[in-house]
Amino acid sequence: MIVAGIDVGGKNVHVVIAKDGNILAKAGAPSGINKAEAAEKLYDETLKSVELKREDINRVVATGSSGSRVAFADGVIPDATADARGVIKLIPSARTVIDVGAEEGRAIRITQEGKVLDFAINERCAAGTGTFVESMARALEIPVEEMAKISLQSTKSIPMNAQCAVFGESEVVSLIHQKNSKQDIARAVHDAIAGRIGSVARIVGLENDVVMVGGVANNVGFVDSLKRELDMDVKVPDSPDYVGALGAVEAAVAGITVEKVEARVVEKETIEEGM
């Protein structure tokens, strides 16, 4: 049986094609403005790269924040389901999944079978998402990849006061003016977002093993901050940004094309009372 998983996220599309449990091809591309079009284009290109046609595929399952826009899919599953199934396939000991993408931060508690037990999400606020990291890298005038690396060289922990991506940019600029090193600022940025993700994760409860996936899992500086924040080890599988698409493949194999999960939407309290 040949199946395909397509993960259409806020920033990127990922496609995985598998035959009888073996991955034939995988590809990723920016999702851009027209996410449906980007998904379709990447899907066709990936099929072409392994000389397959759409009709050769037995089942296509989509996932991701814009997964429902994949018109040709046989089904759409929630990100949490895809994450759970993808992670358990790669790391069977996983019980807590933390997925930080461009526009969302999720924490999912899963069973050994890869079922979703509890799920919390922040999708309203850019602080606690990959977008926050990108904005701060822009303020630091370095690529995200470099910010990730240099934060490991930091020797000092500086607290960031801003809990908002917009205010955070100004804070990074003033930290630069105060002559803090880029290394220390990079770590401060990662610590700040780890703090936000940590509070989302604590809502579902943290159970070993903790596995981090999503685009931000590629950021070694962030993973380091998250380990400190949680005071736990955090495992990262290879190609963590493909886990959603892989989970969709797993669902396709199992014949799951629809599933509902109840999310606890996390919103940061921003109003303070005073007298």
Partner: protein
């Protein structure tokens, strides 16, 4: 190479005013309030509790310098100098860096007091939106703070949210309000709360060909909704006044009045003469007015000593 002048879309123009009916040399007590905010600074000079001069200028990277520049601008043409001032109080985000101030007070106390002066003693609720925060304040008939709710954590629902939007669409912040009503019908509001996500939403709307004015309406509506959450938490008691830069944006003021079902109070201080002036009364000076009034009250009660040199 062609030099392109960089247009600043995000801040209000600077303003200043001197009361032509007051001869300061005959005044008894001269006090000043200086409100150094994150984006703009205001200086107010009061003579015997009457408004004599004010200015609203831009805050630079150097707060003491911004405070000085602001006071100097208020005093231009008056022949008054810093040395003629009995007492000065600093307020606002940069209040600790006002070199000519003898004391500092929080902007919440100052805005409540200032609104009481500007809009009259019937004011019970004041909303002040600054460059990076938004405060909803309940006050008594003397302009004292009863309680308040504040958001300074999230840029949505603060002046910054509007600045970012103005910069993004390249329309000056002072035009957005008017233009947001030049539409066929009120669009759905921008669905993202977060300013960063709202930016992407705005870009997609513009790319889909939604007219600019409609996008402005959608953004104003979203921001209004955010402010309403804060006001509802506090509970709005009439009369209600808005101070700060946002009071000058009718795109927000009108929508907010509709959403909470309460009309904002008219300026009570507003002299008929002021209406004829080219520049409207600047609602951003409430905090500085409050500070100057507190200064006068302290002198009167002997809680402060005049530092007047000339």
């Amino acid at each position: 190479m062609v030099e392109v002048e960089k247009v600043e879309y995000w801040r209000w123009p600077e303003t200043s005013w001197i009361n032509p009916d007051i001869d300061w040399q005959t005044g008894k007590v001269i006090t000043a309030g200086i409100d150094v905010g994150s984006v703009s600074s205001q200086a107010v000079v009061m003579i015997d509790n009457e408004l004599f001069a004010y200015s609203s200028t831009r805050t630079g990277s150097d707060s003491p310098e911004s405070a000085r520049k602001c006071l100097n601008m208020a005093l231009v043409g008056s022949h008054m100098t810093e040395d003629n001032i009995d007492y000065c109080i600093g307020t606002g985000y940069g209040r600790v860096n006002v070199p000519m101030a003898q004391q500092t007070l929080t902007e919440i106390a100052c805005h409540a007091r200032g609104a009481n002066f500007m809009y009259g003693p019937e004011i019970r609720t004041v909303m002040d939106m600054g460059g990076q925060d938004c405060k909803a304040i309940r006050t008594d008939e003397r302009g004292r703070v009863v309680k308040f709710m504040m958001n300074d954590k999230c840029a949505a629902g603060t002046g910054r949210g509007m600045e970012v939007f103005a910069d993004l669409i390249g329309v000056p912040v002072w035009e957005i309000g008017e233009r947001s009503f030049q539409i066929d019908k009120e669009p759905e509001r921008i669905s993202s709360t977060c300013v960063v996500f709202a930016k992407s939403e705005v870009v997609s709307l513009l790319q889909e060909g939604v007219p600019e004015n409609e996008v402005m309406a959608a953004y104003c509506a979203a921001m209004t909704h955010r402010i309403t959450e804060l006001l509802n938490r506090l509970g709005v008691e009439e009369k209600f006044a808005i101070t700060g830069g946002i009071a000058k944006n009718i795109g927000i003021v009108k929508r907010l009045e509709k959403e909470i079902g309460i009309t904002t109070a008219e300026l009570s201080w507003y002299d008929a003469k002021m209406r004829d002036k080219e520049l409207p009364f600047d609602t951003q000076i409430a905090g500085a007015i409050g500070a100057a009034l507190f200064a006068a009250a302290m002198l009167e009660r002997g809680r402060a000593k005049s530092v007047r040199k000339a």
